[in-house]
Symmetry: C2
Subunit: 306 residues, 2 copies
Amino acid sequence: MQAVEELGYVPNLAARALSSGKTCIIAVVFPYVYDAIFTDPLVLRILEGIEAECKKVGYNILLSTPRLTSAGPDKHYQRLITSGYIDGVIALDNVPFASVIEPVTKKSIPAVAIGYYDTEYCVRSDDYSGALQMMEHVAGLGHKRIGIIAVPENLHYSIQHRLAGLRAGAELAGLDFNLLPRADGDFSTLSGSACAARLLAVHPDLTAVICLNDRMAMGVIQYARGIGLDVPNRLSVVGYDDIPMAAAFSPPITTIDQRAPELGRAAARMLLSIFDHRSPSSVQIPTSLVVRQSSSVADQSNTERG
Amino acid sequence: MQAVEELGYVPNLAARALSSGKTCIIAVVFPYVYDAIFTDPLVLRILEGIEAECKKVGYNILLSTPRLTSAGPDKHYQRLITSGYIDGVIALDNVPFASVIEPVTKKSIPAVAIGYYDTEYCVRSDDYSGALQMMEHVAGLGHKRIGIIAVPENLHYSIQHRLAGLRAGAELAGLDFNLLPRADGDFSTLSGSACAARLLAVHPDLTAVICLNDRMAMGVIQYARGIGLDVPNRLSVVGYDDIPMAAAFSPPITTIDQRAPELGRAAARMLLSIFDHRSPSSVQIPTSLVVRQSSSVADQSNTERG
DNA sequence: CTGAAAGCGCTTACAG
DNA sequence: CTGAAAGCGCTTACAG
């Protein structure tokens, strides 16, 4: 039996998979909508969390990036999930026009969604509260003329929840959310600058801008600097996501940490517990406000002027 | 035979794997040294290239992130590569103290390294020429007092090649590379700022700083701005990698594009061709200089003053 | 050229 | 409680 050690015997996993029906592989599914999946730092952080939990119990990760259109995920993916290769799937499922987890649950394959798609097992970031926290922070600093830089709601479910959170936060602060000017970008830094330009052209008296991600916030700060507006003294700018760059930016950006690795960890734990024939409850990961130097109290003189 | 269509038959891949000895899975190996693997944007870009080629031919990607110490990769990994689960591996292999590809080739499993580790099949970025291009660009703008911000050579093979390229470029420009002041960071933005502080404290008359990655270049620019040095007019700053943020930064950063997705594509093509019993030649991916606004001609008054 | 049988290397249910 | 046998669902080499 110690010959096992000496000869370096390693079980053949394909044989084991065939006989036991278990492959110890889970598919991690990042739908490819735009090329966003390969440029978004959060994707890698989520993967980090999944990997950490899987490594503990010896599960392997098969990465799948199906092309997602309104007709659903591509056939490659359809084949993968019925191939017997995988024991279960964890999928980012936040694109309103098509679900990637639905065909999996239909086939009764254990599945956990990270996102808002309505399914039995899911983990969600508390986008509503995160956005609420942002608005409370900004309004709490005395800002009233606040611009919103978002993204079209049909791109990502989380956007809808963040906007709802902003609305609730505005109401709490006695502001009419519908009166706050809004511009939509596409998550990119460049679009952040462009939105800032549009917003400030019409509303030069804004004292704060809330951006639904950090990269757009960086774009706003660059634009503001370009036209000589000091951040945060003349214009407060806050972001969302707490990507690594947010802390290193100048000024460091006030933002919402959604704990992406924890989203991944929770999803992996949930899937493993489904494998154990338990029925885990869905999980919501709380966010936290990270106050840095890009936001400050509303400049009194500016506030009065409007 | 059209019943196949109707019944939605999908072959069981585990059975196919067992009988044919082929799994159509390749392991993509990103050794976990620090948590760098999950925060480095290049990793995802390389993965993007691998995924694109694999998708074409129906191969799946199993992601492996072995912990790498001087004792070699962890046993999880050792098991994976002998498990019969994978047809081959593509690995980032650039950490001098241990190779991740060596145990694979020893077992005669098809393997392609992305990196400088000496092995039969590899794809490399032309770090030497990339760094040479940087130095030629900076020296060509008339700079002579150039600071170097690098990283310890024992962290990554590519650093050694980039430093050699800088040296060659300096010699071509008639500069003594050994006389150029150097500070070492750790790739992070913060370390870039710290290095800039150290360098400029001793050598306030530097007119240019060459950084071996973009994030450190961002740190330098922030530090320079903080002490009132205009970039690029008073200080030119160049980076390396061309991460997405480099173009969106202010000022947009002059840098070297190493075409990370192409590294991935080339590695995948190479592995697939090994599967076909061909013997592909190793590949070097050329880099290109991307000139943006963070570098400009040396300020004459400053140059004279030194 | 077609079709039935052996075999891939495990796991597991069953007989002893 | 132990050990021999069947079976997982394919592929492929072989007999017809």
